[in-house]
Symmetry: D3
Subunit: 297 residues, 6 copies
Amino acid sequence: MSLISPQVHALIDAALAEDRPSADYTSLATIPADRHAEGVIVARQALRLCGVAIAAAVFERSGGAIDYAPEAADGVDLEAGATIARVSGPARELLSLERPALNFLGRLCGVATRARDWTGELRRAWEALPVGGRPPLPPRLVDTRKTIPGWRELDKYAVRTGGAGNHRHDLAGGVLIKDNHLIAAGGVEAALLAAREIAPHGLRLEIEVTSLEQLEEALAAGAEACLLDNMKGEVLADAVARCREADVISEVSGGVGFAELAALAALGPDVISSGALTHSAPCADIALDFTRSWKTA
Amino acid sequence: MSLISPQVHALIDAALAEDRPSADYTSLATIPADRHAEGVIVARQALRLCGVAIAAAVFERSGGAIDYAPEAADGVDLEAGATIARVSGPARELLSLERPALNFLGRLCGVATRARDWTGELRRAWEALPVGGRPPLPPRLVDTRKTIPGWRELDKYAVRTGGAGNHRHDLAGGVLIKDNHLIAAGGVEAALLAAREIAPHGLRLEIEVTSLEQLEEALAAGAEACLLDNMKGEVLADAVARCREADVISEVSGGVGFAELAALAALGPDVISSGALTHSAPCADIALDFTRSWKTA
Amino acid sequence: MSLISPQVHALIDAALAEDRPSADYTSLATIPADRHAEGVIVARQALRLCGVAIAAAVFERSGGAIDYAPEAADGVDLEAGATIARVSGPARELLSLERPALNFLGRLCGVATRARDWTGELRRAWEALPVGGRPPLPPRLVDTRKTIPGWRELDKYAVRTGGAGNHRHDLAGGVLIKDNHLIAAGGVEAALLAAREIAPHGLRLEIEVTSLEQLEEALAAGAEACLLDNMKGEVLADAVARCREADVISEVSGGVGFAELAALAALGPDVISSGALTHSAPCADIALDFTRSWKTA
Amino acid sequence: MSLISPQVHALIDAALAEDRPSADYTSLATIPADRHAEGVIVARQALRLCGVAIAAAVFERSGGAIDYAPEAADGVDLEAGATIARVSGPARELLSLERPALNFLGRLCGVATRARDWTGELRRAWEALPVGGRPPLPPRLVDTRKTIPGWRELDKYAVRTGGAGNHRHDLAGGVLIKDNHLIAAGGVEAALLAAREIAPHGLRLEIEVTSLEQLEEALAAGAEACLLDNMKGEVLADAVARCREADVISEVSGGVGFAELAALAALGPDVISSGALTHSAPCADIALDFTRSWKTA
Amino acid sequence: MSLISPQVHALIDAALAEDRPSADYTSLATIPADRHAEGVIVARQALRLCGVAIAAAVFERSGGAIDYAPEAADGVDLEAGATIARVSGPARELLSLERPALNFLGRLCGVATRARDWTGELRRAWEALPVGGRPPLPPRLVDTRKTIPGWRELDKYAVRTGGAGNHRHDLAGGVLIKDNHLIAAGGVEAALLAAREIAPHGLRLEIEVTSLEQLEEALAAGAEACLLDNMKGEVLADAVARCREADVISEVSGGVGFAELAALAALGPDVISSGALTHSAPCADIALDFTRSWKTA
Amino acid sequence: MSLISPQVHALIDAALAEDRPSADYTSLATIPADRHAEGVIVARQALRLCGVAIAAAVFERSGGAIDYAPEAADGVDLEAGATIARVSGPARELLSLERPALNFLGRLCGVATRARDWTGELRRAWEALPVGGRPPLPPRLVDTRKTIPGWRELDKYAVRTGGAGNHRHDLAGGVLIKDNHLIAAGGVEAALLAAREIAPHGLRLEIEVTSLEQLEEALAAGAEACLLDNMKGEVLADAVARCREADVISEVSGGVGFAELAALAALGPDVISSGALTHSAPCADIALDFTRSWKTA
């Protein structure tokens, strides 16, 4: 991720502005301007690393005074205690920028780690199925648009870093006709026809259905993917099978947590989407520890 | 919260920019421009409400086309199924703005609900203590600077809405001398003296200590508050008692989760701080359901 | 278009900042502060109207002092001399904001008018074909990502207002494998397989091909849409036919201008894309004329 | 143009934000992260080069990963097929940034090329006049404030690069009393007197006139430059002559296109202004072609 | 000044962001949310009022909760104790926004008051001259580009409000050849010729001269205005007279303070410029006093 | 100050945007693009240096074309004529960026110099007191929130550079209960109790009092610091003594100028605050002089 977008730079700026590192009275008072220090950024828990370049960009806000050397790359799995990066530079600036850098890393690794864990669970459950009776691939786990406001790009990047996939990035990047659209549009067929006429030709037409009847209606009207919303048990199994039969992408969604994954893997939809991948991923525990400090000439 | 800061307005702008509501092909295609709708924003779980004015500000981005009428105020506790607000306006605009509005509400209510639950747990545990043997008040639960980057102001507002308190807002709003400062500053006494000289006179001097010896050193050097970092068991109990004796504020911090609260209440420190209040609060489940839709003249 | 995005508001701000209306010495000097005026915004040429809400947003920068009343809506065709809107308010503010408002309208109507004219030409040519021998619909004319930097959203909106369609909105909103990708990816099949694995499931896989051989390779590897780049004559005709046969979307692109449209309509590809719709559309001629001016009490 | 203003940096940011290079699914999928490439930016038509530093700034958004080496400087005339610059770096980043860079170059070269061509036409026409009977210099061709919103600075830079001149940069950079001002101000003399009193002393007083009578009124009231608006034929010739006699700058404006230039050169006004230089200049055709691609260690 | 520019809105946003009104712990703690108040904004010294609309814009950041009613308009002279405006609304919001509003008013009135006082001094001195022996008008007092960074537009507005004039607004709004230009350009004549060729025709050519010899050189080369830099005594008198004779604008500049004005008025240059009008104007003393407070239903 | 915050970068951007260096017609016209120059930034008066890194950041906006080498560091006292920094680079860019750089330096040095002078006066007066009869330290001189809007961070930095101290940085960084709060809160005791409950535990409770009676009330209710507002003579002396007796911080405020400092030093309050340190500090006189200019190859 050498390409940090203007939006992410703006988010870093916001993070610094809200923390006021330039009026860090504790560091200004207790640490002389000519004091340097070295330290390590350490994973305090096992995690999937994500955000090495973002932390670099935070420390670069020192105007080049801080040297930041990552010891691992995004996408790598680290054990508790592993070193993520080494930093050195003026002690004041290091401490003034520490918290924003760790806050970015903590959340990014948190999301990536959850994506890794949930994807792993799906694969494990799929591998436990009899080889003849399982689909060719485990279902693809994807995120949603339920990301933290301001964090869409980073949340989706962390999901990919964790090994899961992205659903549409934004409203321009996919067609997904939901229940509220149907109420306003006057039905499944009208909605699909209109979407075909207006949407860019590179977008598939996906529609949310909540019953087998609605699924049939959608298939008849040319849906190219069906989001099976909050369906359960046999109804869900029938719906997934029906989509497979019709050669239409099936997506299971609605209240999917870790506990539901194994059963869904056995069911074999093409896609499973979960907002909890991003909106409720707990932060990973990461710290910066000084190892040495000295006075510069 | 009638006063929405420029930073929060900027965050709303970022949330809209990243979701591209103006190129929402699904809504543009399936819903005629003259279609109106009414709907309700509903709590799908019990929660402490937070963010009513932020959601209003999101819908105001329609240029006044959407009418948004809250049914409850920030700080109120709602049951699952309760209505948060009613909305009406052009169906396209409603759907294009729905997700950012819900994403803000979901996170804000999530943080406020955790703050409420944890504060309640502390009070319950304190009330269960023998009246004579308990401190005059339960410990004050406060947040930290471990907030989602870009969300400092909103996270801290949600914590207050949940009934917990704020630790320092930013680096200019408090003095807190930590382990890394001590490494670079050359010791407890030097750090406290320097802080007294430089920091604004309205800031108390707080210092992080990890042992009883360090605590004594801090008290001798004039510390006005002591953060007891990752202390456990009897050592922690002694440290809290020592602070009380010295008439210095005691703050317990380090890996505090819900499970630890009851025991800490019995211990009776002045303050308990927890980053998990903000950095790992799960999102609350909130939805927008259309109730009616019609064609305007 | 009641929903004006933060990006468009930012562009309006940039347009005002670069024109310095608050230091408009001509108006400050020649017009007393208490002078009001009425005027009309007039189409000086036949055009497809686009941008009524953007001009409104420019005049709203007066802080509500200016009354702006559109006489026609976006998407309407106007004759030369027709009134677009009436404005009234302080004469100084009207003149200070006139140029940015007209600059927006001029470009938006320019793009919409070209989109209308080119779409009309395609339809006329298609209608002239023998009913039995023509495709069920004329080809869909779409734009590209060759928009004026900063104007992506507005340019694409103007194209839709002119009756043409949008190609992908941005890099996240579509998969389009081009020649340079193939050089770096190591061939058509590898590229398509990788795209299938990574891209959101709502995106079709489109690939640019420059020969019939490459087209066959793409079809064999599962392409869902083929951009026929700079193909001409019989090769192009064969390619279009081959796509139709394979039930894959065909897109003709590369140097398409007005003169090429009629022949392409006869050829019958699904989609024709042209950067000139946006990057070279001439500005429409629109003016603001004062009709009356008076001193307020 | 080593000095890129904050506004232009903001425009580049907007161009990147709207194209979402960090979620370029095509490149992310088809090109491994360790793939490098080299390529050339090529003029596909004869043009006046403009924007070399802007394209550099776009590629610098890769955080230094891309090497960009211009082969020619702004202001140089290139033949079709000429190389503008060489680029090399990670293939993903190159492709993700290609379009914004080309969109800037295309428009800037388009404007500069039109400015060059029109200026050349004026000079050719002037040189064809009998040496004794022509003015000492060809008329100066200048732009107007009819620039693309957000592009004032770049459009005016491209005009200068093409060899034409700038009219006032913005409302603070010149006094130009137009018809609408006169309606509100109460006449030519009042307007000129007021302008003399208020405007900075470094600004000349220019006034738009539409008849010989109004021109006389303006000259009598002390106008220092006269914009002869939409005058034609003998009236225009008389007006230009009258200005020359009065030693006042004459500017011809109103619907000036390439076809009008030769005749105007013969007429000999001091200045000719044309909005079409900027608002309707067609984009130049420029492409990026990969020449080589390889895997890095 | 109903037209508040995007830049000034951004400055207001910055002023609020830096003061953190949304985390105003004093007001949040001490004042209940349902407490309203009324108050007056009062001039604590005699002053020229400036900034009434800016203060309004600050209070509007309350989202309409605060009612702000000015009692006087920009450009009016107030005595100490006079009321500038009345405010009413939620007491919390009033107090949270008070300081930014007063900081804007204080500086704007400070600059306007100095401009008024200095302009008045010039006029008094001029009126004291014998009617026959004085120039037709007092010299025009103008500002410079020595404004507070970020405040150019507001500082220049305050100068005009105080009755003085503006020098060029920015580098695009005037030509002023200074000593450093001459060193790099190779002399007065070359510089003036080049400026004539490149600068917009609406800009006069002004040049800074430091001796009578240089003044002659400038006049010979076609200067249209001469800045007489740091000249004193007879040399200055001769220079002013020489400009008058040559019908060229004379501007006196360099270390001009209040004490110098009377003598300069007698000398009679066309223009006197002083950076101290803006860069060193003391702030005016303005306060907000609550008059009443009550609990709302 | 190697850490320049996003807000200060934004202020530099605003300063450049408002001065339009990229359309500096004087420099564009008179100086060839290949002309280089060297120059010195010189103190034209004795001053306390402040802003060396800010000026560097301004010149860095040239994209690295300008070399800027400071000769002294922030916090150093310079005599008139001393060199602050040397610059070299393209003459055009140097001149286009000169004014913003000097405007920053002028104000920052102006504030720092005043802070130095006033602090020095306090110390001189304190040292003149009989050793036995004076407090252990001179009063601490601090600033207020009366800073130039947009300049809070820089103004407070300049105050520190001048040797004075900061009062609270913003509304989140301190509790200060003022007269208007008391009107709305219902009295001293209620306000202090509420503040204790809500404010972060790291903030001391300070309250403004205007009489000895109110001071007693505040002390009785647990105030930790008292701002003695506009008290004079014996009343003030009694109030300071009473605070000392009660071991509560005393702050003298209200109309404090240089003339008042000596008497206040004798009185011996802990803190003296003055808005005039920032809001009315005159600008320091600093210039850029070219020393050499040459043509590059």
